[in-house]
């Protein structure tokens, strides 16, 4: 479903992704973890072309992102993304946030889009918030709306960029539950997160990055039980000790 082949990326002179090779198959849930500045957010932002790469190739759902005929907007209808900072449209109600892309991009009729939106709000557990503005929701609720907004396009892949990092501890679970449901429904997911409990329970594979490189990848039980690289051992030692 997603394939990185020898991908390199620089921000000016900063080499942020170094020779990345990674494959994610359909229905797989991959958690990407690693210290700040390791390139994990940049990695998933390359998948929907929010970032471009300088060498190598990325193939998403059978099409190369380097193809001259490649259309980022078309790709993004199949790849949903959820951000750390929710990024709901503040001047629109929850319902309008969710129905905007389906009506404007897919040409769905307003009534049909609203029906889909209400089903999704039900699915993320806030059916009563359709008419509310984002400012009047808690962080956890906003993030669940953001997930519903991405799902409204019926994507094949969902990318999560630290979806719970801006949330109060008690709101983290309500978002993780929605993500867990999604994973159980067979969604292909790439999740950048520090939630190691989620990674352990839900991920099929964990990818550990440091300084722009994939240092280690493997099944969660292997990665958490017996990390191979000293860097991963050190990282896990720090974040799991409390």
């Amino acid at each position: 479903m997603i394939e990185f082949r020898d991908v390199d990326k620089w921000f000016g002179s900063l080499h942020v992704l170094k020779r990345i090779n990674l494959k994610v198959s359909g229905g797989e849930v991959v958690v990407v973890c690693g210290p700040s500045g390791s390139g994990k957010s940049t990695l998933i932002r390359c998948v929907n072309r929010l970032e471009s790469i300088q060498s190598g190739e990325i193939i998403v759902d059978g099409q190369s992102l380097l193809d001259p005929k490649f259309d980022p907007s078309k790709l993004r209808t199949d790849v949903g993304m959820v951000f750390q900072s929710f990024n709901l449209y503040p001047h629109m109600t929850v319902l309008q946030n969710i129905t905007l892309a389906p009506t404007k991009v897919k040409g769905l009729a307003a009534g049909e889009a609203e029906k889909v939106a209400k089903e999704l709000l039900d699915r993320v557990g806030i059916p009563d918030k359709a008419g509310v503005y984002p400012a009047n929701l808690s962080g956890g609720q906003q993030q669940r709306v953001a997930i519903a907004r991405a799902l409204a396009m019926k994507p094949k892949i969902m990318l999560f960029d630290e979806p719970t990092s801006a949330l109060d501890p008690e709101m983290i679970n309500e978002v993780l539950e929605v993500m867990t449901d999604l994973a159980h429904d067979g969604m292909t997911m790439v999740v950048v997160t520090h939630e190691m409990g989620f990674a352990r329970r839900v991920a099929h594979r964990v990818v550990f990055m440091d300084e722009g490189q994939i240092i280690e990848e493997g099944k969660p039980e292997t990665f958490f039980g017996a990390p191979q690289s000293p860097r991963a051992q050190q990282f896990l030692g720090k974040i799991l000790s409390h």
Partner: protein, 241 residues
């Protein structure tokens, strides 16, 4: 002090009619120029924030060229310098149809357009980039993201400085008297010339400008409340601090 006040000059003879005609012309030239300025400003201000380099340069060139020349020079330029370059039939048509009015519209429009552009650009730049990324990551094109998300939010944010700029445009329309547009200041000068009562004539003009601008400022402040984005700092929330 030996000055004899005579306020009746304002309603004797043709004064009242002149003031009214002046007010109407001021409103006409301001409204048409405002539409030109606002359109140019919104468009070029938005373009200056996009990642397409040639477009951004073009918009920057427009802003720097048109805001850095005095308005008075633009008035003279569009009235005296440009028409002779036009084909003769167009020139004839223009001078039969109020060339000074249209030159004034263009001068005010391009000058204030450049200034509106900066207001718009700063409005857009106050929106987090990730909001734009969220919009395009749902499949919206860049143009759709601007039209549906970025510009509507920016327009709400810029109401106070845009009001300021709009009021400046109205007041600056008085510069058009230098190319013979019979707007409000032109007419007060005419009353002064006919009656030799400068104080009365200019007081009348001053009050009319004041009332006109206050009415607009009040309307805009209502609009600002009406379109306030929930969660942003607005007047209504100051009680919480």
């Amino acid at each position: 002090m030996t000055y004899n006040f005579d306020w009746s000059v304002l309603w004797r003879g043709q004064s009242g009619l002149w003031l009214l005609q002046g007010l109407v012309t001021t409103i006409e030239i301001s409204v048409v120029a405002w539409v030109v300025a606002f359109t140019l400003g919104i468009f070029s201000g938005a373009v200056r924030t996009v990642s397409i380099t040639p477009l951004r340069w073009l918009a920057s060139f427009y802003v720097e060229f048109f805001r850095n020349v005095p308005l008075l020079v633009w008035m003279f330029f569009w009235y005296f310098a440009v028409p002779p370059l036009l084909p003769q039939p167009l020139q004839d048509w223009l001078f039969d149809h109020g060339a000074e009015f249209w030159a004034g519209v263009v001068a005010l429009g391009v000058y204030h357009g450049a200034r509106f552009s900066e207001v718009m650009r700063s409005g857009i730049q106050s929106i987090p980039k990730t909001l734009f990324e969220a919009a395009v990551s749902t499949g919206l094109t860049m143009a759709q993201a601007y039209r549906l998300i970025i510009i509507p939010i920016a327009l709400r944010l810029i109401i106070p400085p845009a009001t300021n700029e709009s009021l400046n445009l109205i007041k600056n329309s008085s510069v058009a008297l230098t190319i013979g547009v019979a707007e409000l200041t032109f007419q007060t000068r005419q009353i002064e010339t006919y009656t030799a009562k400068a104080f009365e004539a200019l007081t009348a003009g001053t009050l009319i400008y004041l009332v006109l601008c206050l009415a607009i400022a009040t309307t805009m402040s209502q609009l600002e409340k009406r379109f306030a984005i929930p969660g942003m700092i607005t007047k209504r929330q100051t009680g919480e601090f």
